[in-house]
Symmetry: C2
């Protein structure tokens, strides 16, 4: 349980929508609760970079007026939402967590924000991101580290750390994030909330600052998978098909990808229930990681080449060092990596999705490390924290597959996440699998 439950702790969007339509609450009241919670909790969590109290109150009044008139925009109507500070919201500051964009104000909404507003959601503020979304730890930002509501001495995970902390602490019931190698799912898992990244390009990325364009995905964080689905339906370019399950779910042995804390494996496996076990074909894990690294490094260095040349001192030192390493990735490795993607997708489809619709595996192989921690031990081996955090999520960015993490209990009082992965077009089975797991 987070140390500081907020007004939306234990609440779902479904429940809020029912209360709004039953006149048991108003959007204005929900927004005031969110603003109060941010004022009370955020000093210890740093989930928000900026709060738009006036804008949120005005939007809530409009939402309430529409609902009173019977103009119902659906489940997000009147619901307070946080937006990662890498995504443009017209008129609000957008820092990307970087001193390079200090004082910058967005002049237009990102397409995903336009869609949120069209669905009636009320934007209350911008959530902390790891600088330029370039890090899964969430503790390098011009705005300071976002902190884990379950233990503020620990990292939220990142890069969408503020979004995860805001939902986990009950400040808002929903937040937008971005996920290039796990940046929605990692902080969702470490903070004990649900997080969904759809298939590549399923939610438009226009107006979202790029990290690595062929790996970047816009995603959502909420209390559970069902709430993520509500939000996804509003954000997606195409309709999400209705459930036609039951999904055929297999357990994917995470040891084939990375060393794991055995307690995390036990907890997630218990949460998933008894399933047939699959393993990645030999060599594929290494190829997926090599492919991810070549693409991510080259594309990220391309985004920041100008800033690296002109004002390197404005980057956080760790981010700067990692960017400098990224500039050294040879082009031929990028070309080979881009060529490998379709081949890897075929191998994975053949080996893992032949008789199954959905794979289940832990989201992250460990619980939240301490802030600034960079080395740890997993299963008796020393490992780099960053590599460990990304190990079970980044393969699905390389392949562009939809992936959902849902809370799956705790280990030593810290949350763990259970991840479900499917092929594009089978998202309904993914959410179904998450909803009918034994612990759900």
């Amino acid at each position: 349980m987070p140390i500081s439950p907020g007004p939306f702790t234990g609440r779902t969007i479904t429940g809020l929508a029912r209360d709004l339509r039953g006149r048991r609450t108003t959007s204005a009241e929900l927004v005031e609760r969110a603003l109060d919670a941010i004022a009370g909790l955020d000093p210890s969590l740093n989930a928000f970079v900026s709060v738009d109290a006036d804008g949120a109150r005005a939007a809530a009044r409009r939402a309430d007026g529409e609902l009173a008139e019977g103009a119902d925009r659906g489940p997000l109507h009147g619901v307070p939402v946080g937006v990662k500070d890498l995504i443009m919201v017209a008129g609000l500051p957008v820092t990307m967590g970087s001193r390079h964009f200090a004082g910058q104000v967005a002049d237009a909404d990102a397409e995903c924000v336009t869609r949120l507003r069209r669905a009636g959601a009320v934007i209350v503020g911008k959530t902390t991101t790891h600088e330029f979304a370039y890090g899964p730890t969430g503790d390098r930002s011009a705005n300071g580290s976002s902190r884990n509501p379950w233990d503020p001495a620990r990292m939220s995970g990142g890069s969408s750390g503020g979004s995860a902390a805001a939902v986990a602490a009950g400040m808002v019931p929903l937040a937008l994030g971005t996920d290039t190698g796990g940046s929605v799912r990692i902080p969702a898992a470490l903070c004990g909330v649900a997080g969904f990244k759809p298939a590549y390009a399923a939610i438009p990325a226009d107006g979202v600052f790029p990290l690595s364009e062929t790996l970047d995905h816009v995603g959502v964080l909420a209390a559970d998978g069902h709430d993520c689905l509500h939000a996804y339906r509003c954000l997606a370019l195409a309709d999400v098909p209705e459930d036609t399950g039951p999904a055929r779910v297999a357990w994917l042995d995470p040891a084939g990808l990375f060393a794991c804390d055995p307690r995390v494996v036990s907890a997630t496996r218990a949460a998933a229930g008894p399933l047939e076990e699959l393993r990645l074909p030999a060599g594929i894990a290494g190829e997926l990681l090599e492919t991810y690294t070549a693409i991510q490094s080259s594309e990220t260095a391309a985004v920041h080449a100008g800033r690296l040349a002109e004002a390197p001192e404005l980057f956080d030192p760790e981010v700067l060092e990692r960017l400098r390493v990224a500039t050294e990735m040879p082009g031929w490795r990028y070309v080979r990596a881009m060529g490998a993607r379709s081949r890897l997708a075929e191998v994975v489809a053949g080996a893992l999705f032949g008789r199954h619709d959905v794979l289940a595996l832990p989201t992250v192989p460990l619980t939240a490390p301490l802030l600034d921690q960079r080395e740890t031990e997993l299963d008796g081996r020393p490992v780099a924290v960053r590599a460990a955090l990304l190990a079970l999520t980044s393969p699905w960015n390389v392949l562009g597959l939809p992936a959902l993490t849902v809370p799956a209990g705790t280990v030593d009082g810290l949350p763990v996440g259970l991840q479900f992965v499917c092929r594009p077009g089978r998202e309904h089975l993914l959410f179904e699998a998450a909803a009918r797991r034994p612990s759900a």
Copy 2:
């Protein structure tokens, strides 16, 4: 005039087709003349890597039989053709000009070869290529340098140097080549024949060994533009529209791209006739070159990474050194280059194709250098031969635009080429512009 005119010197495919149908010759006779010419001339030119006398004779007999029965496959029916030794011809050796593929035999035809055969062409042999097509000089091949028929002490140009020398010396009336930065047009210009590279992917590249996949184009070399068009119609995936000219042609000042021999500019400009003059917008030439270099280096190094690691000693030393430099191209530059292509295409279309259908400019800014020459002087400045050879052709590979070179007289007894460039879909105007130039 080449020092050793062969049986096809001064002959066009149109003329040969007429003679074949008028029973004034047979395909068998044409093939014998080609084989005799190769036997007589090739020791001094090294245009051919391998000759398939038996296969050519058998194919010629079939072609003659079909024509006698009235089964007419069109203008290439019965015509002897050379095929660059980078393109697979089933059952024939395919060396790529490299010791890495010594003794290799292709087990299937490239798609462009299948199309040639379907059109009734008779393949007489494989023509010398610069090793792995990686060089515009044509003088680095496991098979030895191809030589210029106008002066065998001079380079043919490359990488399709054997194809150009074979057509220029009249050994065959038509040859296939490939063009990544000018590898069809450069040797065609230096050897005084016509060469056409179509729009990107207009001729399928299946079964052609890659140099740089997003820049590689299959092309043709023949006596004149009209013969290139005959061959292109047989090779292209889509129909080529009929002429609807006259084409609106502009002169593109080559000084905006590179230093040029003023005599080459005068000769080509005179051949083009009086035209409105255009210049590239400022900065675009540099961007086109940077884009070309980043893409070509990264993609080529990706093709050869395995050979570089495992058997570097099998490469020609100059090719090896250039490949090693190519492996150092950073991935972020490749990413930016790929992103720049569509923007550059828009700028060029707006600046150059607004009021004109076709651009005319020299194909190469100088006449054929000596074999192995790597430095020269142009317009009073020292320049690298390789950079000079590629300077006026590679921009059209970056942009994927159709480009044709046709002979445009001589300077100091060496041929110069006049290049025409158009947008995809306007090829009919390109050939029309070449046909109605004053010197044609």
